[in-house]
Structures are given as C-alpha cells and as structure tokens.
C-alpha cells in the first residue's frame, strides 16, 4: 500500500486537495456539526422552541431516558423489528438474487424491475395500502386466507404485521444489491470450483457466499441505520398501538419532538439512539471480521 505514495505531490494536487477538503469540512461543519452541537447542548435542557423555554436540567433528560419503561420497551421492539426484518431482507434478497442470476431464469431484468417497485414507492402511500389490506373486515389478507384476525390491533400480530409490510417494501433493495454482488464475482473462482467437481450447493456455500460478504455487510449496516430510524409505518398503521405494543424508538422521538415539542428530551433520546446505532454497526463489522 505504502509504495504507491507519490514521491512528489504536484501543485495542482495540493490545490485540488485543499479545495475539496476545505469544502467538505465547511459543509459538514455548517450543516451537521453545528446543528448536532446545538441539539447536544439542548439535550441537557428543558427545551421547547415554541414557547421559548430553554432551562438547564443537567442530566435529567438522560436519566428520564434510562428510567423510562416505554423507552426500554420500544428499544426491545426496535431490536426485534430490526433483527427480523434484516434477516428476511438479507435472506430473501440473497435467495432471489441468486435465482435470477442463475441460468434457469430468462427474463432477468423483468424480475429485477418488479421486485424493485416497492422500494421506489413512498412509504406513506404504501403504509395506507397495507393498512387496508390488514383490515379485519374488508382487508385482502383476511379475505384471501379466510382468516378473522385483527392484524394491527392484536398485540400478538401487530408488530409482525408491520414487519411483514416493511420486508415487502425493502427486500427488493437487497435483491438488486446482491445481483450487483453476483455479477462482479470473479469468474475464475467459480470456474475452479466447477473443475474441482463441487456441486451447486457447495459452490454457493463455500465460494459465492464468502465472496458476497462485503455486500452483506453493506446491506446489513444500511439496514441497521434505516430501521433504527423507522417510524412512518408505525405512525400510519398503528400509532404505536394497541396500547404501546408497537412503539419503536424513533416513533417516540418523533412523538416527543414534533407532537409534544419536548426538544430537550427528544434530543437526549436521539443521542442515545445514535450511540446504539454506532455500536451495532461496529458490532456487525466485528462479527464479519472485516477491517476498516
């Protein structure tokens, strides 16, 4: 790696580098660091931007976060939600991508396009459509399967129903990601496996899968970031109900910030969530054993 360091840096390189680095630093400082700083300071205050309240509280907000039963419950929900949806997203994505990639399927771009449709549709509209489909009396799901389940109001099924919808909306993203991964596999490795007489499953298990690890990591980390921040589906489909059965961490933040205008508390929640996101992302790096 080191040998490629340029012995001499040209003048134009230094200029370009300085401009770009300066632009990045300025941009991210203004539009991220400063707002984060303001929010971080706010997390130690009783802060309501509408009534103009801004009183120092010390660690009170953080104490509230950690003693709040609702936050604990919603963190557990978020964990279940994220893990289940990520497993299905990755599993389905990989399976379907592999199927499309195989020589058995002819209309590849047709399937790719079909599975990608939910990804490009706004969550708001999708959530309304699914809310109709889950309706106990007129919903498609009960009608097709001849069931009589109040999907979104039964504490046993509500979170599952929301997860199902999220998997439906997002698996196409993983399909496309894995398609990309599969197309860029080195042909010689697969060829070598064939020559060695490996069957299809062995090739997949011992060659393809390990080679796709970086892509899996990419999908998993993107998903962690996205799902820890998920709230729109909850807002539209259950409002956290029945009772508090489907509260997700981000839904509390949304509720505290934009319904109750408790900005201090919402900021404290956000920072706790930020740390948790970072820890989980780091963990997935560690588990996958990749450096950097």
């Amino acid at each position: 790696m080191f040998k490629k360091t340029h012995p001499l840096q040209s003048k134009s390189e230094i200029i370009l580098r300085n401009i770009v680095v300066a632009a990045m630093v300025i941009f991210f400082s203004v539009f991220l660091i400063i707002p984060i700083g303001i929010a971080f300071a706010g997390s130690f205050h009783e802060w309501n931007p509408l009534s103009g309240t801004y009183n120092f509280l010390g660690l009170e907000n953080y104490k509230d976060v950690f003693t709040s039963g609702l936050f604990g419950k919603s963190m557990l929900n978020t964990l279940i939600f994220s893990v289940v949806v990520i497993i299905f997203r990755v599993g389905l994505g990989l399976g379907i991508a592999y199927a499309i990639y195989s020589t058995l399927i002819k209309y590849k771009s047709f399937f790719r396009a079909v599975y990608y449709m939910p990804v490009v549709t706004p969550m708001v509209a999708v959530a309304f459509v699914w809310k109709f489909m889950y309706n106990p009396q007129i919903g498609t799901i009960n009608q097709i399967f001849g069931l009589d389940v109040n999907w979104l109001m039964n504490p046993k099924t509500a979170l599952i129903a929301v997860m199902l919808m999220t998997i439906w909306k997002d698996f196409g993203y993983a399909v496309v990601m894995y398609m990309a991964g599969l197309y860029s596999l080195p042909a010689d490795a697969l060829e070598a496996a064939k020559v060695d007489g490996a069957n299809a499953w062995q090739t997949f298990r011992y060659i393809t899968l390990p080679l796709l690890k970086p892509m899996t990591l990419f999908v998993v980390i993107n998903s962690i970031i996205a799902y820890i921040q998920a709230y729109v589906q909850i807002l539209i489909m259950t409002e956290g109900g029945p009772g508090t059965a489907t509260y997700l961490a981000s839904y509390i933040i949304y509720d505290e910030a934009f319904v109750k205008y408790n900005f201090g508390y919402a900021s404290a929640l956000s920072f706790v969530l930020f740390v948790i996101t970072a820890v989980f992302s780091w963990l997935s790096f560690r588990v996958s054993g990749t450096e950097e």
Binding site: E46, N48, P49, L50, S51, G52, T53, S109, N135, P136, Q137, I138, D148, N150, L152, M153, N154, P155, G240, G241, P242, G243, T244, A245, F258, V259, K260, Y261, N262
Partner: protein, 458 residues
C-alpha cells in the same frame, strides 16, 4: 421490447398529466366566474354589537397584500376573502393551504421568524404552541361577549386572542333502515344509557357467535366520544380543582369505561375486532349506531351518501346531567403579532369582518357542522335544517368546554382503552397509568382548565 414499454409508459404519463392540466384550466375558469358573480358589495354597515363599517379605508387605500394560512377547504375561505376584497379592492389576501397534521409543525416555526403569515387559522388543541405569537383582538371584550357565547373561557389577562365561531360535540347517529328492520320507531329513541343498551341489543344481528351487524360501534374513537365527555354526565370534571391535575382515574371515568366494556363483552352489541373504526363501519352499513362529533355529518353526506341516517341527542344516565357532553370550539383566526403593523391592521379588520358577517358565520358552521357561537344565529333556519345541529339546540347551554387540553389527555386515554380491550389490562390499572402519563406530559404545560367557567359549574 423494453423501448416499446418505456414509450408506452411515457405516453401514459403524458396522457395523465395532460388530463390533470385540462382539469385545472376548467376549474380555474369556474372559480373566476364565481368571483365575478359574487361582486355585489353590501352598502350598509352590518353586524350585531360588533359592527363592520364599510366606509373606513384600509391601509389608507394603498395596495397591500397579506397571507392567510389554513388547512381544509379553500373554497370556504376564498368566499370570505372575495367578499372582503370586494369592499377593499386595494387589499389582496393570499390563501396558503396546508395538510392538517403538518400545519402544526410548520406554522409555529414560521411564526417564530419575520415572514410568518399575518393571519392564520387556529385549532385550540395547539393553543400552547401558538399563544406566544398572537396579537390580542382589536375588538372590545364587552362587544365580543355580547355577540358570542363562550368568550369568557378565552380571556387571558383581560385580552382575547381568538374565540370560537362554533361548538362541536357528539350525538348519536343511527341507520334508519336498520332501525326499521329491528321494528323500532321514533318512540324508541333512547333517553338514557339503559334504554340505549336495550336498543343496541335489538339492533344487533348475530349468526351463532359471529357478529353480522353491530348495534353500536365505538372502535378507535371511544376515548374522544365517550371517555372524555360522559364523566360530566356523572358530575365529574376532567381536571381537579386546581385546574391542572387531570382527573381521568375518577370513579366516574371507571364507570364509563366499565359500561363500554359491558356493552361489548356482556351485551355483545359490538366487538373490538368488528370494524377498524366505528365511523367507517357505520358508513359501510355494518353498524347500526355510532356516537360521533359534528364533522361526521359531512363525512356521511360526502363519502357515505348511500346511508339513510338519523341523529338524536346523546343519552344520559339519569335525565338530569351536570352537563350533557364535552364540546370543543372551532376557532376564529389568529393575528400574528410579529407581522408588520400595516399587515396586522388588515388582519384585525378581516377578523372583525368575519365576526360581523352572518353569511360567513353560517357558512363556516355548516361546513364544519358546528353549532354557532354567535348568539343571534342560534335559531337560524339554515343551521336548524342540519339535523346534527338541530338535536343540540335544546340543551346547547348544557355542554361544557374544559379548555384547550393538551393532546396527551386524548392519546393517553386512547392507549388506556386499547390496553383494556386488547392487552388484557384491568380498568383500574390502565386509568391510573393514563393519569400518571398525563401528569408527566403536562409537567411543563401552562394549561389551566376553564371548567369552572361553565354556566352551571358547581
């Protein structure tokens, strides 16, 4: 193949957008014609105590333009604006429509700056977020009190920032066809809850254990239509005497909650799983009765126009309630105190015009199905033609407003009800939890109940 498909899709896009474009142009033309037809300017000053004098020039006759922010029906607001600008051609008022939910995020943020709208629609559930940006109304308190009911509840340190133009509350809506099929007549209209429960049983149709038609349905809105209102019938306020501590785990509230549970689980006149929302279920022709607030009248007439329905007054426990039900006001406009002085002056004048103008008052009340707060309109013909308003007219003074309650009161009770019905929590625990939650959320609230201002307050 792919190219062809794309071409077809493009064509479809063009066709649809073209279509939308056409729709727009005809729409506009109609609107223009409407304004032309409406250009008859009144000659005389009008109004009751609050008089609108047409001869006073606005902004010294110089051109001025202000913004009015609202959610909901543009036509309704535009009519009032057109009437106003016909008198004052130098004023132009720009209407800005917003989606209801997000209006409350955006408006306070906009008012915090210098470029906020001079005048905007208010809903009292967001009182606390707006009150710091409001200018007091430029109309003497006595005049407001003389013309409108419920003004006292809006007085803050001697000033009034907005009042209600109408009062919305709940009544029972029933499906006339089902009523007849069950062999019921007008004689059977229940006055008490016991009678109501009997009628509901008669209206319920079951196939074995399976519910076919619910006699009564309160799914998804029981908190708003029962819990926060029937407590008054039992003589219990929603807030304790200090006006700040909630009173939602009172015996009265428990009794109401127990009645709801009994209606579904003992009487079997409905089910928590039968119809996602009581209101929709009524519209779908699946439930025979619902208690709904005034806005439901409009929903029935627009979305569910096939349903032949009647309305009757909410039943009581003993015929002599402390108050029949809670009501909530639909508010008049607010004036932005940070707007430039000349814009504020126009805004103030516009509010005055709106309050003095009976046509506007009637139009707004009918649009929202609210009972007019303007005293002179209580027996207005057009108002009484609306059955959901007619049933209120007899006892309208026996409805009570607790003040602009923070939304946590509603949401906490909704959660409590869901916990009871769906999560198997007992009534006592659930209501205690709601009480605790509300106290926590209201820790920093400046809300104070105005239940003590109710005309028959104890």
């Amino acid at each position: 193949m792919k190219k062809k498909m794309l071409a077809a899709m493009m064509a479809a896009v063009l066709a649809v957008t073209g279509l939308a474009g056409c729709g727009g142009s005809t729409e506009k033309k109609e609107a223009e014609e409407k304004t032309e037809a409406k250009a008859d300017v009144p000659k005389e000053p009008f109004g009751d105590t609050i008089k609108y004098d047409l001869t006073v020039e606005i902004n010294d006759g110089k051109d001025i333009s202000i913004e009015l922010w609202e959610w909901g029906s543009d036509d309704l607001f535009q009519q009032v604006i057109d009437g106003y600008t016909a008198i004052h051609p130098n004023v132009s008022i720009k209407l800005v429509n917003n989606p209801w939910e997000d209006y409350w995020t955006k408006l306070p943020l906009a008012l915090d700056g210098e470029k906020g709208p001079a005048i905007f629609n208010i809903h009292n559930s967001y009182h606390e977020n707006l009150i710091n940006y409001l200018a007091p109304l430029d109309i003497p308190l006595e005049d407001l009190q003389a013309d409108f009911t419920g003004v006292d509840a809006h007085v803050i340190d001697g000033n009034v920032y907005y009042i209600d133009y109408g009062m919305m509350t709940g009544s029972v809506y029933y499906n006339k066809k089902m009523w007849e099929e069950a062999g019921l007549t007008d004689e059977d209209i229940p006055k008490t809850w016991d009678e109501m429960r009997e009628v509901a049983k008669k209206l319920t149709i079951k196939d074995g254990d399976k519910l076919i038609q619910a006699g009564l349905n309160f799914n998804d809105d029981f908190h708003q239509n029962y819990l926060l209102g029937l407590n008054y019938q039992l003589g219990e306020n929603l807030f304790q005497e200090d006006g700040k501590t909630p009173n939602v785990n009172s015996d009265a509230m428990k009794q109401v909650m127990q009645m709801l549970v009994d209606m579904y689980e003992t009487d079997g006149v409905g089910s928590k799983d039968f119809g996602e929302k009581g209101s929709d279920s009524f519209g779908q022709g699946q439930s025979a009765m619902v208690i709904q607030w005034g806005h439901f009248y409009n929903t029935l007439n627009t979305t569910w126009s096939d349903i032949d329905f009647g309305v009757f007054e909410i039943p009581t426990f003993d015929g002599e309630p402390y108050a029949y039900n809670r009501y909530n006001g639909e508010s008049t406009f607010g004036v932005n105190k940070n707007a430039p002085a000349d814009q504020q002056a126009v805004a103030q004048d516009f509010v005055k015009y709106f309050l003095a103008n009976d046509d506007a008052q009637v139009a707004f009340n009918l649009a929202m199905s609210t009972f007019p707060a303007k005293k002179s309109l209580a027996d207005n013909e057009k108002i009484l033609e609306n059955p959901s308003l007619k049933v209120l007219s007899e006892h309208i003074d026996h409805y009570i407003w607790p003040g602009p309650m923070p939304s946590t009161v509603e949401t906490s009770l909704k959660k409590a009800g869901q916990d009871i019905f769906f999560n198997g929590v007992d009534i006592e625990t659930a209501l205690d939890e709601a009480q605790e939650n509300i106290i926590k959320d209201m820790k920093n609230s400046s809300f104070e109940s105005v239940e003590n201002l109710y005309a028959y307050a104890k």
